[in-house]
Amino acid sequence: MYQTTYHCPSSVEEAAALFGKGSDSKYLAGGHTLIPVMKQRLAAPSDVIDLGKIKELVGIEVSADALIIKAATTYFDILRSAEAKKAIPAIVHLASVLGDPQVRYRGTIGGSIANNDPAADFPAAVLALGATVKTNKRSISADDFFKGLFATALDDGEIITAISFPNPAKAGYSKMRHPASRFALTGVFVVKTKSGDVRVAATGASQDGVMRVPAVEAALKANWAPGALENVTISAEGLLSDIHGSSSYRANLVKVMAQRAVTAAG
C-alpha cells in the first residue's frame, strides 16, 4: 500500500469539504473494494475519507410507504433489523446471503451501490424495487442511477446518504453464489409493486452490470408464478462468460433464479 492520508469526518458536510481539498480523494465505506486494490497498489488515493463513522449516515427508518436505509448501515444491521424484516423481508434475506459474516459486519449498502460491482447483490434490490437514491445534493431514481460496470450517476465527490425503498406488494431474491468469491454468479430480485407493476432485476449476469429483465417481467405480469417462466427464453447475448459460468449458463440462471425468487416472494 502506498502512503495516504486518512480522514475520519463526523458529518457529511465535513466529508464533502475534505474530498474537495484532496488531489485524488476517495471515500471509504465498508472498504471491501478500495482497501484490497490499495493493498495491491492498484489504487493510490491521496486522501481516504471514512464515511463509516458519520452518525447521520447510519440507521434504518420506516415511513408509511417506504423503508429508508441510510448509506453507511452495515449488512449485518440490515439483516437483524425488525423494521426492515417487517417492511421488505426480501431485503433482509438478500443481506443474509451476502458475502460471509466478516463482510456483513463491515460492508455497507451505500458502499455497495456506489461501487456498482456487476456481481454485487444490493444493486438488484435497488433497481427491482425502483428505489430512490438520496445524496447530499439530490435524489436519483434507481432507473437513472446505475450506468454500467462500476459506473453510477454520482458526481465526483457526491455522497449517498440513504436509499428509500417503496414497500412492494411482493418481493423475493434468489442468488446462485459464485463458488470462489461468493458474489452473485447470478442473482435475481423480483418485485410486484403495489400498483400491480412487475419489476425484475438481475445482477452478476450482464456485461453491463445490473439489468432489468423485460421478458421475465412481462411473463410475471401476466401470471405471477414460477411456472409462468417455463417457456421464457433468456438470451445469452451480452452476458458474462468466465471460468465459473458461461453466458448460456448465466442465461439459464436468470430464469431459474427468477423462478425461485417468485417462489420465495409467495
Binding site: Q40, R41, M176, P179, A180, S181, L185, I243, H244, G245, S246, S248, Y249, N252, L253, V256, Q259, R260
Partner: protein, 781 residues
C-alpha cells in the same frame, strides 16, 4: 496402552501455542540489522530479458542493493536441480533445461524473478522494486500441455525439443496389447486431472543470516525437510558449505508437499545476505504463493481397461501427458512416473498393465508433489474406469470391484509394487454398511419424485506410503536415500527429548511421537519433548512428506528407544542387584518382575549421568540414536462412498452422505488420524468440485487469488462419517501405514462417480462446477 499411549486420542500438545497465537513462524523472527527483500517478477509467461535498469531504484529511500539474475550466475550460484533421474523409453536421460534462481536471459513463467531489491523495510523494497525498469522482448508462450506438444509450438528449453522432457514407460506393452486383443469388453476414458494450487495457510518465507566472522550462514525457512534443504543448498547450489549452514524450519503453517522443495527465494536470500553483509528476510504474499509455489497434478490421460467375459480385468493401458511447468522442480520427475504409474493396479488383480508417461514443459510455474503426489492421479484413473466399466457392463459397481479385488498377500503387481497386506473387501463392506447401500435405490426413487437427481459413487483407493526403501528408490533414479533418523535423550532428571528428522507442520508429531514414549515407558507425555526442524539440533533427517512420518520417522524413534531401554534396563538391574532379564518397565519405573523391588526412571537416568555406580565398562549417559530404512512401502487402502444430489436447475451439487472406511494399520492417535482424513477429504473433494488453476492462452494465471480460485470452505463439505478396518502393516514393528494423504487420494473419484451417476452423463471434468454439471445435464452444450 495407558491413557496417553498408542491408540489414545490425546489432545494435541502443540495446539496450545497455535490457538493462542504463540506459534513461532519464520515471519515472526526479527534479527538485529535485518533487511527486507522484494522480488522483481516477470509479468510475461515467456520473454527475453533485454536489459535491467536499477539506477533509479538504487536512489530510492532505504535501498541497500539491487541484485539481478546476471549477478547470481556470475557468482556461480548453481542452477536448481531435479533430484530424480528418469530415463525415456529410448534409453536417453530426461531432458532438463537450466533453471537459475533469478532469470539472467529468459523468463518462462509469470512470476519468475529477474531481480531482487534489498532495503531497510519491506515497503521500501517494494517501492524500489517498482522503480526497477526491465526491458522484455515478449516471446510466444505455450501455456498448457496441448499447446506445448503441438507441432511448431514455442520452444521453452533448447535441451528439450518439442518441449518433451521424457517419454517413459512401465509395464509390458506387448503382453498388454495381447490381453486387449482377447478382451470381451474394453472400457475407455479421456481424463483431465486438474491443476491445483497448494495454498498452505502460511505463505513461504525465508530469512538468511550470514555471519562474516564465522563465514557461517543461518537460514530460517518454511520447509518440510530442513536437512534436505541444507544438503541441496550446499551440495548443488554453491551458496554455503554444509558445515557452515544451519537450516531452521520453525513452526510451519502447512505444506501439503509445496514446502518440500528448495525455492529460488531461499537461494537468493542466502546469497544476498553475504553480498550485503546483513540478514535478509523475504516473506511471500498470497499473490506470490499463487504464482510461484509449485502447483500440483495437471495430467491429460487416455485410459483403457480390458475385461474378459466373466468381468475379470485382464489389462490396463494408460497414456498420460504430465505438465511439469517451465522448469523441473526438485521431485517433479518422479511424481507422474514412479509415484503414479506404480499404483495403477489399484486394489485389483490386473495381470497386464502398460503405462506411458510423457512429461512436458509449459510456460507455467513448476508442478511438483502435492498431497498424494501421483497417487491421486492414479487412483482417479483406476476408479473412474471401474465405475464406468460397471455402467457399461451393467453390473453393480461394488460387486465388480469385489470380483477383481486382490485377496492374497503379498501380491506382486505388474508395476513394481508388492502389496504386503490388506483386506479390501472388509473396507468396502464397512463403507457399504455405513452408507446403507441396500437402501440407496429407494432413496434415489424418493429423490426423483421430489425432482432431485441423486447419485452414488465409489472409490476404492490404494496408495504407497512409508516413503521409502532407500535401495529400491535408488535403483529407480532417486538422488537420495529415504530413511529417517532419531535420537532419544533421557536427561539426568528423567525427562526425555526426542530428536527427529520428521518435521511437523500440522501433523501433530509433537503429540503422537510422545505417545510412543508414554506407551513404552509409562511416563506422561508432559515429560517428553519433541525436537525437530533445526539442523544444529537434529543430526539428520529426510523430512515429512508421502505419509512417511509414522511408518519411517516413528519407527526410527522406536529403534532408538529400544537401545535406550536396553541400557536403562542394564543400569536398573545393576542398581537393583537383579538379572537384566527380570526387569520390566511399568508406569515409569523399572521393576524386578514378581517382586516389589523397583527403581524409577529418573533414578536410572541420574545413575547414568552421575556414573557413580554403573555396570563395569558401561559408558555414562542415557542417549541413543538410530537410523531406520524401511524394507518396503506401506499400503494404506480403503473405500469411500459418496451419495449426493444435483440441482438440475443450477447444476449445484449437494452432499447427502460421504463415508470413509480406511485401513491405516495401527492408529497412534485416532483423533489426529480423523483430522488428517478430514483434511485430506476436503482437498480431494476440493479437487473434484471446486479447485482448478487456470492459465489463459498467453500464460497469465486467471485464478491468481481466492476471488477466482475456489478453496473449499466448511460449508462446501459434508459431515464425514469415518470408519476404520485394520490389517497391521507387517513391514514395520508398529504396524502403521500412514494416513496423511488418503483422503486427497481417494475422494475425488467417489465424488465424480456420484455426480455422473446422478446426471446420467459420464463426460464430466474436474472441477465439476455447477456450470460444468449443468452443461453435462443439458448435453455438454
Amino acid at each position: 496402552m495407558g491413557v496417553e499411549g498408542i491408540g489414545a486420542s490425546v489432545v494435541r500438545k502443540e495446539d496450545r501455542r497455535f490457538v493462542t497465537g504463540k506459534g513461532r513462524y519464520v515471519d515472526d523472527i526479527k534479527l538485529v540489522g535485518m533487511t527486507h527483500a522484494y522480488f522483481v517478477r516477470s509479468p510475461h509467461a515467456h520473454a527475453k530479458v533485454k536489459s535491467i535498469d536499477s539506477s533509479a531504484a538504487m536512489k530510492m529511500p532505504g535501498v541497500v542493493g539491487v541484485l539481478t539474475g546476471k549477478e547470481i550466475v556470475d557468482d556461480k550460484i548453481g542452477n536448481l536441480i531435479c533430484g530424480w533421474a528418469i530415463t525415456s523409453r529410448d534409453g536417453t536421460p530426461m531432458k532438463m533445461g537450466a533453471w537459475p534462481a533469478m532469470a539472467p536471459e529468459t523468463v518462462r513463467f509469470v512470476g519468475q524473478a529477474v531481480a531482487v531489491v534489498i532495503a531497510e523495510t519491506k515497503n521500501q523494497a517494494h517501492d524500489a522494486a517498482e522503480a526497477v525498469v526491465v526491458n522484455y522482448e515478449e516471446l510466444p508462450a505455450a501455456a498448457d500441455i496441448r499447446a506445448a506438444i503441438k507441432p511448431g509450438a514455442p520452444q521453452l528449453h533448447p535441451e528439450a525439443p518439442g518441449n518433451v522432457i521424457y517419454d517413459w514407460t512401465l509395464g509390458d506393452e506387448a503382453a498388454t496389447d495381447t490381453a486387449f486383443k482377447s478382451a470381451a469388453n474394453v472400457v475407455s476414458l479421456d481424463i483431465t486431472n486438474n491443476r491445483l494450487v497448494p495454498n498452505a495457510m502460511e505463505p513461504r518465507a525465508a530469512i538468511a543470516d550470514y555471519n562474516d566472522a564465522e563465514e557461517h550462514f543461518t537460514l530460517y525457512t518454511t520447509s518440510q525437510n530442513p536437512h534436505v534443504a541444507r544438503l541441496v543448498l550446499s551440495a548443488f547450489y554453491n551458496v554455503a558449505q554444509e558445515h557452515k549452514l544451519r537450516v531452521v524450519a520453525p513452526d510451519v503453517g502447512g505444506g501439503f508437499g509445496s514446502k518440500i522443495f528448495i525455492y529460488p527465494e531461499e537461494m537468493v536470500a542466502l546469497w544476498a545476505s553475504k553480498k550485503v553483509r546483513r540478514p535478509v528476510k523475504w516473506t511471500g504474499d498470497r499473490s506470490e504463493a499463487f504464482l510461484t509455489d509449485a502447483h500440483g497434478r495437471d495430467h491429460l490421460t487416455k485410459a483403457e481397461m480390458a475385461f474378459d467375459a466373466s468381468n475379470k480385468i485382464i489389462g490396463l493401458r494408460v497414456k498420460t501427458y504430465a505438465n511439469l511447468g517451465a522448469y523441473m522442480s526438485l521431485f517433479s520427475s518422479s511424481v507422474p512416473t514412479y509415484l503414479y504409474a506404480t499404483l495403477l493396479s489399484g486394489q485389483y488383480n490386473i495381470p497386464n498393465i502398460f503405462a506411458e508417461v510423457i512429461s512436458v514443459y509449459t510456460n507455467t510455474v513448476p508442478v511438483d508433489a502435492y498431497r498424494g503426489a501421483g497417487r491421486p492421479e492414479a487412483s482417479f484413473v483406476v476408479e473412474r474406469l471401474m465405475e464406468t466399466a460397471a455402467r457399461q457392463l451393467k453390473v453393480d459397481p461394488a460387486e465388480l470391484r469385489r470380483k477383481n479385488f486382490i485377496t492374497a498377500f503379498p501380491h506382486q503387481t505388474p508395476v513394481i509394487m508388492a502389496y504386503d497386506i490388506g483386506d479390501f473387501g472388509a473396507s468396502l463392506d464397512a463403507a457399504l454398511k455405513a452408507i446403507d447401500y441396500s437402501g440407496f435405490p429407494a432413496r434415489k426413487d424418493k429423490a426423483k419424485k421430489e425432482g432431485k437427481l441423486r447419485g452414488i459413487g465409489f472409490s476404492c483407493y490404494i496408495e504407497a506410503c512409508g516413503i521409502a526403501p532407500s535401495k529400491a528408490v535408488g535403483s529407480l533414479g532417486a538422488g537420495v536415500g529415504l530413511w529417517e533418523s532419531a535420537e532419544v535423550r533421557v536427561n539426568p532428571v528423567g525427562t526425555i527429548e526426542i530428536l527427529t528428522g520428521s518435521h511437523s507442520h500440522g501433523q501433530g508429531h509433537e503429540t503422537t511421537f510422545c505417545q510412543l514414549v508414554a506407551e513404552r515407558l509409562g511416563v506422561p507425555i508432559s515429560q517428553v519433548q519433541i525436537v525437530h526442524g533445526d539442523t544444529d539440533k537434529v543430526q539428520f533427517g529426510m523430512g515429512t512428506y508421502g505419509s512417511r512420518s509414522a511408518a519411517v520417522g516413528l519407527t526410527a524413534i522406536l529403534k532408538a528407544m529400544e537401545k535406550v531401554e536396553s541400557k536403562a534396563r542394564k543400569i536398573a538391574a545393576h542398581q537393583l542387584e537383579a538379572s537384566e532379564d527380570d526387569i520390566v518397565i511399568e508406569n515409569g519405573a523399572f521393576k524386578v518382575t514378581g517382586t516389589d523391588k523397583s527403581i524409577a526412571l529418573p533414578m536410572v537416568a541420574l545413575a547414568a549421568y552421575t556414573a557413580h555406580n554403573l555396570p563395569d565398562g558401561m559408558e555414562p549417559g542415557l542417549k541413543e540414536g538410530a537410523f531406520y530404512d524401511p524394507t518396503n512401502f506401506t499400503f494404506p487402502a480403503g473405500a469411500y462412498i459418496c451419495e449426493l444430489e444435483v440441482d438440475a436447475g443450477t447444476g449445484k451439487t449437494g452432499f447427502v452422505n460421504f463415508v470413509a472406511a480406511d485401513d491405516f494399520g495401527r492408529l497412534i492417535n485416532p483423533m489426529i488420524v480423523e483430522g488428517q482424513v478430514h483434511g485430506g477429504l476436503a482437498q480431494g473433494i476440493g479437487q473434484a468440485l471446486l479447485e482448478g488453476a487456470v492459465y489463459d492462452a498467453s500464460g497469465q494465471l486467471v485464478t491468481a487469488s481466492f476471488m477466482d480460485y475456489t478453496m473449499p470452505r466448511a460449508d462446501d463439505l459434508p459431515s464425514f462419517k469415518l470408519n476404520h478396518t485394520t490389517t497391521l502393516c507387517p513391514g514395520n514393528p508398529l504396524g502403521v501405514k500412514g494416513c496423511g494423504e488418503a483422503g486427497a487420494i481417494g475422494a475425488s473419484a467417489a465424488v465424480i462417480n456420484a455426480i455422473t451417476d446422478a446426471i446420467g452423463n459420464n463426460k464430466l471434468e474436474m472441477p465439476a462446477t455447477p456450470d460444468r454439471v449443468w452443461h453435462a445435464i443439458h448435453g455438454n452444450a
